[in-house]
Amino acid sequence: MSIMSQGRRTRRIAIDAMLCTFAVMLSYLEVLLPLSALIPLPGFRLGLANIAVLVVFCLFSPIDAAVVSAVRILLMGLLFGSTTSLYFSVMGGLLSFLVLLLLSRIGKKCSFFGVSVLSAAAHNTGQIIAAVTLFGTSLITSYLPALLLASVVYGGIVGLLLNLITPKLQPHAAKLR
């Protein structure tokens, strides 16, 4: 490996590590917010960490976004969750990422608003699928309508935020690449 490509590889690893930290920070912020007292839905989150994943997906690459998402899920599961919650997060994150990949092919006319709503809805659906497979019954799907409605609200808020900040981040991301 040449020195130039080794340097690029090291730079990329350092940037991904920094982005992972950003994602974990956003996830930790969600842990601190007592949302379950307001909206008692299992697995309900604001989806702040999705800000990091979407920003990385668009301004860097899908591979970097996959790394950031995977590291975030693993770290949060190990630090603040259990094996069960880790399984839920993995399924949610996986389905959300697949939807994101699909939208990057067929949904480029959407803004971050629509992408974030669909991504949040996919994340919640993935978690319900995890619950169904874990408990061996489809009764859990009764939570899904409320989670989908919540994903429209909070996914929409995150999406509007991304609509505002992504153009401002783009020049800085270009310098890092």
Binding site: K109, L134, G136, S138
Partner: protein, 123 residues
Amino acid sequence: MFRTRVTVRDAIAVAVVLFAACLLLWAPWQSRADGAFLVITTPDGTSEYALSENREIEINSQGIVLIAVIENGAAYVRESDCPDGVCRVGGRIFKSGESILCAPAGIRLSIKGGDGNVDYVAG
């Protein structure tokens, strides 16, 4: 990259999600008769308790302790040291198919049985 102004496609995306939510809410196959048993499912196994007998049940799963109560034909979670706390505000369940879920602990409380009516089945 995606666009940064809200478009018609975004409205379509929101409509699709809302439609899916409404469809699931008014699932025509839903049937809610009064249940007869509380079924407690954990990673270690499943146990059933009759709703006709008042009792307290302590459930320990993945380091989380949850106290479920059967009282006057309904079940609810009285105490839980789960960090989420969702199960504590889940209310009382007594209709066949209703459930309370503690995701971090992998505990599910559900109601089954009844007066011969079909339990809630989805999908």
